[in-house]
Symmetry: C2
Subunit: 304 residues, 2 copies
């Protein structure tokens, strides 16, 4: 396909803690193909992350029938969890990547750009972790995204950890019985606190996040302890939304694996102001790369 | 010292997560010497724990001027954190130890036996971790001791983690400012949430426990957020004490590095019923070994 050699292709990368998603797009923002590989979060290993980025990009080119396009001709936008930490941003920036160019952003910025098709806006993310983010007039504000177990209230990991805590207190008869106890113990084929502790000891955020739906299920069935957890976590999301609106974003979306469980528990006026996300984060990564290139072009033009 | 060869010596071991303490006692419960070595908690490594037990025992014999006494002549009582988990109890029980005999108990049982000089009673422990324990009419009840971050409310690690959580929320302006922020950031030479998150990410219970005094300091100076944490944690200790009294222990003590900070915040009637501990856990370990031997003697006598 010689015509491909004259066309500039873009790859968007969304590198998270469990998987790395890639999308190939052309100059007109048409999606041509996608690819998924393993963890792409440099927080959990630089080698793993860079391998996953190359693998997902290669898979996406194959999916787009562009396997003959060399990586060295492609412009990449990459949004990676963790690069808000300077040590990880510097490490990823110094990577001798195989692409024509790579434009590095946080996972939050590309999620926000994707949700609002490159325009200003705000996002609340609640999946394994949680955070809030606004991007208005080239100014960004990040709330949360502090990690487990010291932050990320209202995230899947947070809800799961609260469930384990409260069930252990109920088994000790420090608090009244909760209907979360039976399904939580059953999940680990355990029948007492000791067995539950053995099952959860030392486990990471991803483990606890898998328990989050159980909390919402029991809250919706009327369990007081589960309801208190859900109201506490969703109360935090309410406050995050209020803080984000203070930045006057034109739109706000909530995304992430737990979003559809959280929304029914938010304050009505906050839930009603949420808009559907328009594109996924990996598309936002391409939009980011194009914005960076446009900025460079403007700077070059004004120098001439 | 040939006379020593005719006398039975006992060594008590208190094996915790940061250190292993040993005491040498004679048949009359006179303390002859003590020794301290590294971590003695099999939860963090079987080799480390068994090495620490032998080292602390050897040091205690030296301290008692009994270096000529072979370990193979000594009766040992060992109370080890973690052996309430069956997998660790079985592992420690199968150890080919160098002693005449070794009687294995949890750290909680020997702490309780020590606090009440071998008699029935209850203990609340709040140091790096937290738990409650009663030993009445040969029946024991354990509350808590579930570990970090899913349990151990009211422990040093729990107080420290709450401080980090609340300071991160305050830095995000999700909650009002707290006077804990300045000293916590200063502790890590940081001046923002990102630097604080870098300092605490992935840290264990022992790290967070070092922050507990800061919470009590600011609570006592009147900071509302710190006071709320302290009242929540100490409210849990109140409920643990109430649950333990339901077992009708003759005495109750509170021990551990954070006990003196917690007591002033307990309900007055609960604080007033607490008795001073009479001996440390390692002495309780010797009392445990002697009780086990007495039980064996009774069983042997009744068989004859």
């Amino acid at each position: 396909m010689p015509s491909n050699n004259n066309e500039q292709f873009f790859i968007g990368i969304d590198g998270g803690g469990s998987k790395c998603k890639a999308v190939v797009m052309d100059a007109n923002n048409t999606v041509l193909g996608t690819g998924i590989s393993g963890p792409g979060n440099p927080y959990h290993g630089f080698e793993q992350a860079t391998n996953s980025i190359i693998e997902s990009a290669t898979l996406a080119l194959h999916d787009a029938n562009l396997a003959d396009i060399p990586l060295s001709s492609v412009i990449v936008g990459a949004g990676l969890a963790g690069v808000n930490l300077p040590i990880l941003y510097n490490k990823m920036s110094s990577w001798s990547h195989p692409f024509k160019s790579m434009h590095l952003a946080t996972d939050l910025l590309i999620a926000c750009l994707g949700a609002h098709k490159g325009e200003d806006g705000a996002v609340i993310i609640t999946g394994t972790g949680s955070c809030g983010f606004t991007n208005v007039n080239d100014k960004t504000l990040m709330l949360g995204a502090h990690g487990f177990p010291h932050g990320d209230k209202g995230s899947g990991a947070w809800f799961g950890l609260q469930a384990v805590k409260q069930v252990l207190l109920a088994l000790d008869k420090i608090i009244p019985p909760t209907s979360m106890t039976a399904p939580l113990l059953a999940r680990f084929d355990s029948n007492n606190a000791t067995a539950l502790v053995e099952a959860v000891a030392g486990k990471p955020a991803t483990f606890y996040a898998k328990l989050a739906n159980l909390v919402f299920d029991e809250a919706e069935r009327g369990d007081d302890t589960a309801k208190a957890i859900v109201l506490d976590g969703c109360g935090y999301i309410n406050r995050v939304a209020q803080r984000l609106w203070q930045q006057n974003p034109p739109r706000m979306s909530i995304i992430g694996g737990l979003a559809f469980r959280v929304v029914p528990w938010l304050q009505t006026e906050i839930a009603n102001r949420l808009s559907a996300p328009l594109a996924p984060p990996e598309v936002g990564a391409v939009l980011f790369a194009k914005q960076q290139i446009a900025l460079t072009d403007i700077a070059t033009t004004s120098l001439n």
